[in-house]
Symmetry: C2
Amino acid sequence: MDLREYLKRRQRWVDAALERWVTDENEFPSRVHRAMRYSLFAGGKRLRPILTIAAAEAVGGRVADVLPLACSLELIHTYSLIHDDLPSMDDDDLRRGKPTSHKVFGEALAILAGDALLTEAFHLVTRPDLMRSVSSRRRLRAINQVARAAGSCGMIGGQVMDMASQGQKVDSHLLEYIHSHKTGALIAASVCAGAIIGGASPRQYKALNSYGEKLGLAFQVIDDLLDVQGEEKKLGKAIGKDKVKGKATYPALFGIAKSQRQAEVLVEEALGHLKPFNGRANPLREIAKFTLKRKE
Amino acid sequence: MDLREYLKRRQRWVDAALERWVTDENEFPSRVHRAMRYSLFAGGKRLRPILTIAAAEAVGGRVADVLPLACSLELIHTYSLIHDDLPSMDDDDLRRGKPTSHKVFGEALAILAGDALLTEAFHLVTRPDLMRSVSSRRRLRAINQVARAAGSCGMIGGQVMDMASQGQKVDSHLLEYIHSHKTGALIAASVCAGAIIGGASPRQYKALNSYGEKLGLAFQVIDDLLDVQGEEKKLGKAIGKDKVKGKATYPALFGIAKSQRQAEVLVEEALGHLKPFNGRANPLREIAKFTLKRKE
């Protein structure tokens, strides 16, 4: 299969859906909608919504049924980036090659735009005019998974420990906690949410959940490596920042070669969980392999 | 009826439910759960959850069915207070007589605790082990209402315009927008959500929605008046802050006497919308009347 074509196509679907469903800039108060859209359409790869779609497809689900939920994962991801970039958090000036939200709109509006994106995620997936062919019970279950993964025992928990451990000595146990929660939880939830809406059996769900967990962790290990070895131009942000901030990373703890090997093992494990699936899971397989090769 | 007894009892139910359902401080990472609980159990009056319960009771619904949703409204209200108090927003040091979240935990953790409370609101109302006797469809509808009211076209929109208009000349039209969105939207949604879960007919729902809108606006007008005339000790915060910050308020625009009269008219209108209801709506009636007399 042509992964590039597959990704491009779904990225377009997600972009078009976000364009359609997220409040227009002309809507009052336009300043908050402008700030929301500034970050939402800043060139994101749409990895999480694409994983939601691919997981639904892997179990025979329909794209139209899963698209609102896929978009909600991008809304949550975008809010988390805006808040992570704030002066009191990572204090970043650039994101995807563009000034960060608080640089453009000021701190207060950046916080509120983040809050609004998070809230919109749950507004979107509960809209009565969308996802009408999916049972309400299944929708609730998927939303619950996403909320859990995004919350204090998931993504936020990871960010809290990432902040708390800066400049501290971090062991491999805590490092894995930070990575698997800060990045991994929402990636795994993206896969799981698609699986639920797509109608996965309990066994399929379990396998896809494990796939998502391994993939999410691999993704963050590669992120750490890119901060050491990547090209600023392709990444759209400064490299070497983790070290400056005293952040715990895989390369810092294990070295580059061992971290690279760990990412490879994680991807192999992710692929292992897809063994029971037929060709419909090929996109998930290719995405996992691609994770190791990504440059941005 | 004895309103004080009614409120006290439901406050206890809400407190006990929040205690049971919101993640324990011992749960990792404990610092974020401590921050969440610090603000959640800081002596809030639980007005929003009580309105949810009272609205459900008014249409013959059961308290147990509506309690998780009632709690989620308190979670959203609490997150909004933490974020509003931040240095880049209202920069408040005291809330309900206690140091604000960012004063105790620092800015980063205050932002994250707010994010976590907002996320937990949607996690709680979608838990598969709660509200089992309520249809999933009805639950989705209620969650959608709450998310809309909390979002960029509701509460957040109000806060955005409140921030944007500080020190500016504000006309009565914009002032009503700010108040009806910043405070009114979530109060109205509290009533509506209870009505939906309680099984309101379309006509009942419409009446309760109107009641909630009038009550929410009245509540904020009284809040403005308390900032001018209230007692700091009872309020648990400094008074006269609105003027210092150049905030648009009803007393500033219309004077004290006219603002007081406006609040009374709004409460009368709220009560008017309850005319078709029987004695089960008495708590809603008493709450509306009490709004005019509150000192904190």
